[in-house]
Amino acid sequence: MEIDPFIFRLSIFILSIFVGYYVVWSVTPSLHTPLMSVTNAISSVIIVGAIIAALAGSSNNIFEPSNLFGFLAIILAAVNIFGGFLVTQRMLQMYKKKKK
């Protein structure tokens, strides 16, 4: 019997939870705020879905309701991607060592 592809995705999901668990415990507490802003930025990879939604269907009629929701989601995710990565970068620039 063939294995349903869903099971493969579920395996990736569960393994990623474990990876996330160990990686996040190793994050130093002083960087917890940048951790939140960068997880925010990467979770906006949901823009992938938004792009598919926006470009779905024929190219003559690109403003059907389903496309509109896609375009809106693109704006929201783009705010997050640019805002999230840039504000993280801004914060990380500030963490400096003692000048010897």
């Binding site: 823009i47 992938v48 640019f82 805002g83 060592k97």
Partner: protein, 464 residues
Amino acid sequence: MSANLSAFFYLISGILFILALRGLSSPETSRQGNYFGIAGMIIAMIVTFLSVGNFGTGFIYVLIFLLIGGAIGAFIAFKIPMTAMPELVAGFHSLVGLAAVFVAISAFLKPEAFNLGTVGNIYLASLIEMSLGAAIGAITFSGSIIAFLKLRGIMSGAPITFKGQHLINLFLGLTIIFLIYYLCVSQSSNIFWTLVTISFLVGVLLIIPIGGADMPVVISMLNSYSGWAAAGIGFTLENTALIITGALVGSSGAILSYIMCKGMNRSFFNVILGGWGATDQASSSKSNEQKPVKNGNADDAAFLMKNASSVIIVPGYGMAVAQAQHALREMVDALKKNGVKVSYAIHPVAGRMPGHMNVLLAEANVPYDEVFELEEINNDFANCDVAYVIGANDVTNPVAKSDPQSPIYGMPVLDVEKSKSVLFVKRSLSPGYAGIDNDLFYRDNTLMLFADAKKMTEEIVKSL
């Protein structure tokens, strides 16, 4: 681009996201980590464009909307003051949540585009995944909006509770599950819209009973939710990058919530069910009013610290409110010139989000190797001459160690009282968030400095 090839590239971007988080294990590697994250995002987006392969007018619009959103995001990222990070992060969470809802709606309206079947005949698994993604996304959105309003001060930080609140939440939660089941049976769009609406409502109801100082838990929790929502959508779209990212973000937020709860010695459910502090306030603050306190001014404080050999600074949310971090840095510079050893002690729940104080100190150019976490520094208070408490309160209260009756009993606290003298900057003797009087105010070795945190620190700098 073939489906297999794009799946491979999505995997690469997922791995880059893991490396982005891995980089945060130390400040030196963190900046490189952030570039990994950016690279992962760019790969994911390019691969999506190539695999959709539609470079008509729609593509132009996508780019335009991308740039509009990007410009807004970049503007916010450069303009936002560091003290406003908690509300910024809450605001960003709401956007992820809403984006997840929109993608789910779009997939529901036009399943063909996502290979999920046809309208009225969407695959069962896809339907479950997209409705879970939509429901969690909607809860994330409205919950984050409430958190944002509370943090921004537009809405009072006080818990809003009413009778039967938990029952209503439970009922609505069960309704969501039932609606998802019913949606799978009927494929009805009305059910889908009802589901989304109720989820928005649950988000609001879930966050309103939680008070201002519990916001670190709330923000972390919503962080986690935004991840699970993304994962739900990832399953719908069969997209590895989204599934990996969702799992990473979901577990990251969950760990942060756990760390924050532990910092307050409270269970997760205790925080979520809310309403702490509302009942204790009346009973506790009466008895101690007559106790004498020692009152000092900036000159006393400057004299004490100048002649100390080591000083530990304990910042809290009050420092963020007063924007006192730069003045504090000046004070520390002046002390160091006098040969005083200075370090900073940070409680896990100081401030309104995990790591809030560290960012503010970093902004004021405090080197991160002078800043210590609770476990690292707590034993040093016994050997330190002066502890300078600025804008912190409950996290220094010795009652947490001595009085089993106290609501904060068992919470890990900084052993500030063990230092030879304590300087406590505070505007009045009013109790902190937990509504408990701080025993520290009345100790013999405590000198109260009644003033705004920033003003007092500036005055001390002058008299140094």
